[in-house]
Amino acid sequence: MAMETKWERNSDPVGIWEHRGKVALVGRGHSTTDRRWDGVNLDQTLGAYSMVAARNAMEDAGISPDDVDGVITSPGGQPRHGRFGAGWAPRPYFDPPYDTEDGLTYVTAEWFARQLGLKNVKYLNSHGETLWNLIGLAAQAVGDGRCEVCLVPYPNGNLEGRYHQTEGLEAGGPAQWSLPWGWGLSGQGFIFDQYCRKYGTNHDRMAPFVVQERKNGLLWPHSYYALHEPEPFTEEDYVNGRSIARGLSIFDCDRPVQAAACYVVTTAERARDMKQKPVYFLDHTEGAFTPRSLVQTLDESEEWSDILAQRAYAGSGLRPDDIDLFSPYDGFAINAQYFLEAFGWRGVKRGEAHDFYAGDISLQGPNPLNAGGGNMGTGRMRTAFITDSMEQLQGRAGPRQVGIKAEVAVTIGVLPGNACSLVFSTSPD
């Protein structure tokens, strides 16, 4: 099984991507979305959903399994190749072939290729990370010639029980400074609090952004909210949300779900023969940063997102004015603003994000931020960022289709400390 080293473009200066315009997204497929897997139904495992998504993606691209020669997956959809299975397993296993977590709570490329009967695969890689990094890895692998027609499944799971519980009676070492106050990433609220004090704003001013995202997300047929909680989400709802930590409301946190998507990535040449209009990769760039101390600060979030933006512009050769659609990760809603300001989309500078949210960010307006609804609008699928970018550029986003010109789209995720940006275009040039 392949594990790429040094594929990431995370050293400055990154330079124009050598495969700019030579790799394309040509298909996408989604499963339905559940709140969680019940641990019993084998039709609702991450494996089952990945296969549904893959068949939908192949049909979308107009290819057959025999056309596929590469599979790259992120088995559990998490950073550092993390998987959910380890957290809940061991479990009483089912009969073979379900006597492993593979296909249940994570999905390796090997399992995936075997189950789909992919006869012509020459490249398998199960070391993808979160979605943006996974797609970036796939673009690089196709560009490098490791495969030509690559399926990229992205399973993202949620199991029974409570999420991200860290059990124990003691917190030792650095954890003593963070764990007693809850799950580590609730420290994102600390950064947001700093932001509000620095720029003279407040948490309630996030409301228009999250409300608009939910509106956008309800327009997806497979969105968690469209399927399970279709009632409108209002500004009253948002401002009355309970605080998880200072600066972080329950409605800033995305809803873990059980779902899978799959993408088809191929060369620009092969893309010409496929069903959909190609969406060309102009660039992928990555970054992983470490806080100076035990707690990430606002200065660091801004510095890291600045670096990520600079790399994206350097790698693609574009400028802020070239970007029609911008989709920054909102897994915590309070993070999207650091990316928005760093990229300077629509001229938004540091400290101006909340003013921007108060303006027209609707789908038919001039500034359709996160047209796909993000995680706030669709649940923690994450795939809305990629699929929406693709569909907007192809003109097939249906009720979500924006009113502005849609020729260049940028999306970035997940957090400023560990992110990849992807630049897509309707033109390879």
Binding site: R35, E229, E231, F233, T234, D237, G241, R242, S243
Partner: protein, 131 residues
């Protein structure tokens, strides 16, 4: 009168407020809990002041009450239990839920409390009838 019921031992008319958590407590929650809609309806019909205090958005809570055709006296976010006490006049206040958060907010705002698994026995029906 709405919200009043007669204490069977003393004959006094008392208003008892019941605050329901939803997810993990009510059968319509996610995950579903053991307190059924029938139990809620029974409490409502017997004059208890019923409403919800949940982490669900207020709009979602109102939609649930509308779905079961009961007009709640209040809907609130979980940290707003104190506001419920301030807004709604009652002789006794009870909250029920499945999480530590439910217990904590109940304690903080001087509500009586039942865990979700205790609530399925409808303990409110015997309030005032003991001893």
């Amino acid at each position: 009168m709405l919200g009043e019921h007669q204490d069977s031992s003393t004959g006094a008319v008392v208003k008892i407020l019941l605050s329901f958590d939803i997810d993990g407590t009510l059968e319509l929650g996610d995950p579903p809990g053991g307190v059924t809609i029938e139990m809620v309806r029974r409490a409502h019909e017997r004059g208890y002041l019923v409403g919800s205090c949940s982490d669900k958005p207020l709009s979602s809570q109102r939609a649930i009450w509308k779905e079961i055709d009961i007009e709640p006296v209040f809907v609130a976010s979980k940290h707003q239990l104190g506001d419920v006490r301030a807004r709604v006049e009652a002789d006794a206040y009870y909250h029920m839920g499945d999480r530590d958060t439910d217990f904590q907010v109940a304690q903080e705002h001087d509500f009586g409390f039942w865990w979700a698994h205790e609530a399925i026995a409808e303990p409110w029906l015997s309030l005032g009838t003991e001893g």
